[in-house]
């Protein structure tokens, strides 16, 4: 790796620190200074001043906001994300980590499925350009894409569980076969985007000089397509992987709600409604870090694959 790239990465990483700090302060203040009050929610109609005082003391809400924030940061450096108030007597880590595991597992599977379906569909459409198969393939996936998960989830449950009896809807963990249906439903809307991008990319690469050179060398058409066109056309797809990562976490809400999957999106919704300050904050920070790092990762990966980009990044620094 060139000096320039290393410096570039370090600078990018350093930049994330103020970003994360700013986000944490903003969210912390939004939660504490708004009308939300977890103690009120815990006690509900059982509220008494003395009971509430004891809980405020327990959670530290009786202290001034800036002290609460500093305390939070101090704990953060010791790896302590705070405590949940919706799940009393559980720490944020205990509440959030199992759910991140669930969402991450599903996310990876969904991503594999999205690309597994989208890339071949795109290549297929591009190679059949000019025939009815091109618009048919892309059109089919666009049609699927335009069905909201809210609808497709219910349809899929009815079809595959009730009509065919292929799957059960009981949740048995991320590695249980029952996870296939929600992952499938979650992936469907993403395929069209990948397919279209892949199609455009294949068509664009096909006009490159080196493809023409390869053809004129007398290489077999299949070799040209596979080693020259598709391989190079895959390059822009990396950005999609990176940028889709936070999207998969964020976009899973309806899948999680309709399949009753204990993932991060459902927890985030419930944490906001509860309200559960530390869990909300923990999730926002997790999401921000994920997003920032995914971006850096994409840039770096890009550099590894395409030397031209590495060069310009280095030159840019």
């Amino acid at each position: 790796m060139s000096q320039g790239l290393a410096g570039y990465i370090i600078r990018r990483l350093l930049w994330t620190v103020p970003v994360i700090v700013a986000i944490s302060i903003l969210v912390f203040l939004l939660l504490r200074l708004g009308p939300l009050d977890p103690v009120e929610s815990i006690l509900g109609q059982r509220y008494t001043e003395e009971g509430a005082d004891r809980l405020r003391e327990k959670y530290g809400y009786d202290r001034p906001v800036h002290i609460q924030y500093l305390k939070y940061v101090q704990n953060l450096f010791q790896g302590d994300l705070g405590v949940s108030t919706r799940h009393q007597n559980f720490t944020v880590a205990e509440v959030v980590i199992p759910k991140i595991r669930v969402s991450a597992g599903m996310g990876v599977m969904a991503m594999v499925l999205v690309f597994g379906l989208g890339v071949p569909a795109g290549v297929f459409a591009a190679l059949r350009r000019g025939t009815f198969l091109d618009p048919l393939t892309i059109g089919f996936w666009l049609l699927i894409d335009s069905v909201p998960v809210l609808i497709s989830a219910i349809w899929a449950q009815w079809l595959f569980a009730l009509q065919f009896g292929w799957v059960d809807l009981t949740y048995g963990g991320v590695f249980h076969p029952n996870i296939i249906l929600p992952v499938f439903v979650m992936s469907l809307p993403g395929v069209a985007g990948v397919a279209r991008l892949m199609r455009a990319s294949v068509i664009q690469v096909s006009t490159e000089d080196y493809v023409r050179t390869a053809r004129s060398k007398g290489l077999r058409e299949q070799t040209v397509v596979v080693s020259h066109v598709v391989r190079n056309a895959l390059l822009p797809m990396i950005t999609v992987i990176g940028l889709a990562l936070p999207g998969i976490f964020a976009g899973a809400l309806f899948t999680e709600l309709l399949f009753g999957i204990p993932g991060i999106a459902r927890e985030a919704l419930q944490a906001v409604l509860a309200p559960d300050f530390d869990v909300v904050l923990g999730l926002v920070l997790f999401g921000s870090i994920l997003f920032v790092f995914a971006n850096i990762l994409v840039d770096v990966a890009y550099g590894f694959i395409d030397p031209r980009i590495r060069l310009s990044a280095a030159r840019g620094s």
Partner: protein, 575 residues
């Protein structure tokens, strides 16, 4: 990537597209049903399963067997109940439990001095019998000598003293102790750090416990049925203060076998349970998974809730789910509150006019498919102490307009805001219906406002809401929990600011009376006065809409926290 892999991938895509297309075609043709020609085999099967046609009945033998293999007996073949539940909001520690779902599990794993039967009467649990002396201020409990914790250790009076003192310990931050045990001498003081011992709880001998109250309260036994008063194992807690709740050692009918957060809770019977061991081999609470009713139809679960979209069909008998329908009246009372200290509701005529102007029967019919119960009183029908004789203001728009015209605000109606707790979007349908009925009968435009839950609770508690929509679910099954808690002038749950000396006197008298029937009569009188004064408009008592498989025997939903799974049994005979 080689040619070969690329080819395979292309093939896979093509195959998938074809597969999806075929599936759609099959489903569409199967849905039509009346396809006699039977061109496509799967389509014919689907239509046979849906329609009870003659041809299906002729080949009935085979089809029935197949159906049962696919769906019928699967879930009913074992003596194992599969139901649903919420992820526990807190650990399985009786003094931390404040929510209904955790309470449900806790009530099966632990037990206390007394418990509730399925009709919500207080019955003995660990206490065999009790005596009430000193005008209802002192309770002496005589414990059974054969009660053991799940690990076999015998339960004595000392365990109860430990458990109650632990509940009151300020270091344990119990959210419910003051509500349920706050009347025991010393509990409040210990909670506030003024004393170490709860002097009101005395161990007389190994199996005799005396509890002394600050004042006589006739619903104390009902309060003792809540989880906060359950007995816990001191030895276990001291050995493993942080982890004991993962393997709680209670005295209840069930033991915790598996707790996989977010996934499932599995309870197994406590064979030494002193009130008779459970009949089931296992109870499984699924904490996650797809739509309950779909899982119910797919034979994955014994008990489900009727989804809102299916309710009309289920109630009319048109839905195929109708045969499984089991309504369960809840111990829940919904009402509209009005702040009696603020215009215009400081004039009783205005409150009465608002009550007379809404047509709850029509709303029940149109919005709830007649499945809710119009609240003619405050205490719900399934609660001990309910009276049919109590009547509320019935829809009479003319009389309503008349009363409003006589009121102080006849020509000078201030702005009225009805607040409810909720997010964005339209207000609930019933609130919009009230709004429209007030507009039509009284010519008054009420504004509806939604606020976030914790802020709503705060404003409600401070009596800042002019008009509000809320409800109350029983903490313990006694009329005091409704009439006293919501309407005694000093009660912190009296959000409307209502104060009536006669009502207060009746409630005070009822709180100390030992004769249940006489007590109930006092509550009835108070209830009728309150409704006539109209600080609130009673709207509905709710009903739970359940789906229960036929093979589940002795299922009931008493509407509150009652250990109920030990009565249930699965009929595995396949009838």
């Amino acid at each position: 990537m080689s040619n070969r892999t690329l080819g395979i991938m292309m093939g896979a895509v093509a195959l998938l597209i074809v597969a999806v297309a075929v599936v759609f075609v099959l489903v569409l043709s199967g849905g039509d049903g009346d396809d006699d020609s039977g061109t496509a085999q799967p389509a014919r099967e689907a239509s046979e399963r849906d329609d009870d046609t003659d041809s299906a009945r002729e080949t009935g033998g085979d089809d029935d067997d197949r159906d049962r293999a696919v769906s019928g007996s699967g879930i009913c073949s074992e003596n194992r109940l599969v139901t649903f539940g919420d992820d526990p909001a807190t650990v399985f520690d009786p003094i931390q439990v404040g929510d209904a779902s955790t309470a449900e599990y806790t009530a099966e794993i632990f037990g206390g001095l007394v418990t509730l039967d399925l009709d919500l009467n207080v019955v003995p649990d660990i206490a065999e019998r009790w005596e009430i002396t000193d005008n209802g201020r002192v309770y002496t409990f005589f414990l059974r000598d054969d009660v053991v914790f799940h690990n076999g250790r015998r339960v004595t009076a000392d365990d109860f003293k430990y458990s109650i003192e632990r509940a009151a310990d300020p270091a344990n931050f119990s959210p419910t102790v003051l509500d349920y045990l706050g009347d025991i001498v010393g509990v409040r003081d210990k909670f506030n750090g003024r004393t170490d011992e709860v002097s009101g709880v005395q161990v007389i001998d190994e199996y005799t416990l005396r509890i002394e109250l600050d004042r006589p309260i006739s619903y104390f036994l009902q309060q003792l049925t809540y989880t906060i008063a359950y007995v816990v194992d001191q030895e276990q807690i001291e050995q493993d203060p942080d982890g004991w709740t993962r393997q709680p050692n209670g005295t209840g009918p069930f033991r915790l076998k598996i707790f996989r957060p977010l996934e499932e809770i599995v309870l197994i019977p406590n064979d030494r349970y002193h009130l008779g061991p459970p009949r089931l081999d296992e109870v499984v609470f699924t904490l996650a998974g797809g739509s309950l009713s779909t899982r119910f139809q797919n034979d994955e679960i014994h008990i489900a809730i009727v989804p809102a979209v299916e309710l009309a069909g289920v109630l009319s008998g048109e839905s195929e789910l109708a045969e499984f329908y089991r309504p369960a009246p809840q111990l829940a009372f919904f009402y509209l509150g009005m702040n009696v200290n603020e215009p215009p509701f400081d004039d009783p005529l205005v409150r009465q006019a608002f009550a007379l102007a809404i047509d709850r029967e029509a709303i029940n019919e149109v919005l709830f498919f007649d499945a809710a119960i119009v609240a003619d009183g405050i205490v719900p029908p399934t609660l001990p102490g309910y009276s049919e004789a109590i009547t509320s203001y019935r829809y009479d728009p003319d009389r309503a307009a008349e009363l409003l015209a006589q009121s102080r605000y006849a020509n000078d109606m201030p702005r009225i805001i009805l607040t409810f707790s909720g997010g964005g979007g339209d207000p609930p349908d019933n609130l919009q219906a009230y709004q429209q009925q007030w507009r039509e009968a009284l010519g008054v435009e009420v504004e509806i406002e939604a606020i976030e839950w914790s802020a709503y609770l705060r404003e409600l508690r401070r009596g800042e809401l002019q008009m509000y929509s809320t409800g109350w679910i029983a903490d313990y099954p006694d009329p005091e929990n409704f009439v006293g808690k919501l309407f005694a002038s000093e009660s912190r749950l009296n959000h409307s600011g209502y104060a009536n000396d006669r009502v207060d006197a009746l409630l005070d008298e009822a709180a100390t009376l030992q004769d249940q029937e006489a007590r109930y009569r006092l509550y009835h009188e108070a209830e009728q006065i309150i409704i006539d004064d109209a600080p609130i408009i009673p709207t509905f008592w709710t009903v739970g809409h359940y789906l229960v498989r036929e093979c589940v025997q002795n299922w009931v939903d008493p509407g509150t926290i009652v250990p109920k799974y030990r009565y249930i049994e699965i009929d595995t005979s396949g009838e």
